[in-house]
Symmetry: C2
Subunit: 194 residues, 2 copies
């Protein structure tokens, strides 16, 4: 087992190892939630050294995203939004979110349906909302009520995506991205500024 | 059959008749959607005269609400919000919505889960959003983009309720109603004012 910590398990391709790690990650995130899962517990289940997970996937958030097999990487997307600071952040957030998900609306729709249909309050998408979206928003937001405001921003994105992609409510379902940004960004920016 | 148009079917109690109407309404709203369903088609399926439906339930919107067996009547709730006009409407909308649904959060949660889990773009709850919430908001909103703004307001309510009742995202899940109103109403009011 110790040889696996050098980045390649004996007798197996790196693809097999990555697959075993992702399978273990999916099982554990689903069963224990994000905070109940550790790289070490995933490593044990996958039969690899924990350092190999870091080597292949980085940190636990990145492993969550990889295990969800999303067509876009929300960690990278939210980074570009947050790194510009609070000025104009709502515009960047809405434009980035819609540009990323509009081409994959069926995937987002399936994700919402699975997440909300199942009623699991610790479903992977909600772990993602908490540990990637909201936690990064909190780096920028200020004020005593910033946690409530961050969850409300998340609720705006989820509500908008739900009506645009799942319920397909006219005219939100096919309003041009820049039209949604123009109409909605000032509203969302209020929650960012507080 | 014609005797039923006088308000009471032969050999049956009014409870039986109401039950037959509601059962037919549920079937048809689910199968044909709101616009594809008429009081006449429901009357035919229930074996009663259409005038009896009006007598018992009023119009088609009221029949939709009755057929959903909700613990609150959204038609009455939205009426109190809209009738005050645009000033302070976001506050009234949020306070009314949360006061009505907080005591019945399990019902709303089940409704969201059924609606979104099923992926039916014409599910009763979405018919209700379109034909009761949004259509009444449009009586108050002004401007060329008022339809988009009305759907975004609906998305704010659905997103908030989803994270508060279904996903139970802290701290939105148990923030006091007046705290949510204070933080969120100015944001929502922007969409009302345009």
């Amino acid at each position: 087992m110790t040889t696996r910590s050098r980045g390649r398990p004996p007798g197996g391709s790196s693809g097999d190892t990555k697959g075993a790690i992702l399978a273990a990650a999916r099982t554990q995130f689903a069963a224990r939630g994000f905070s109940g899962t550790s790289l070490r517990s995933i490593a044990t289940e996958a039969g690899v050294d924990a350092s190999l997970i870091s080597h292949y996937f980085g940190d636990k958030s990145q492993l969550l995203v990889e295990s969800m097999q999303l067509p876009v990487n929300p960690i990278e997307k939210i980074a570009t939004v947050v790194e510009g600071g609070p000025d104009g952040m709502a515009e960047r957030l809405l434009r980035t979110f819609l540009s990323a998900w509009d081409p994959h609306r069926e995937v987002f729709s399936a994700l919402i349906r699975t997440t909300l249909g199942g009623g699991d309050t610790d479903a992977p998408m909600l772990q993602l909302a908490r540990n990637i979206l909201i936690s990064r928003l909190l780096e920028v937001l200020e004020g005593d009520d910033r946690e409530l405001r961050a969850t409300l921003i998340a609720s705006q994105l989820i509500g908008m995506a739900t009506l645009r992609y799942v319920a397909q409510l006219d005219p939100l379902d096919d309003a041009p991205i820049e039209e949604v940004v123009r109409v909605y960004a000032p509203t969302m920016q209020r929650l960012i500024d507080g």
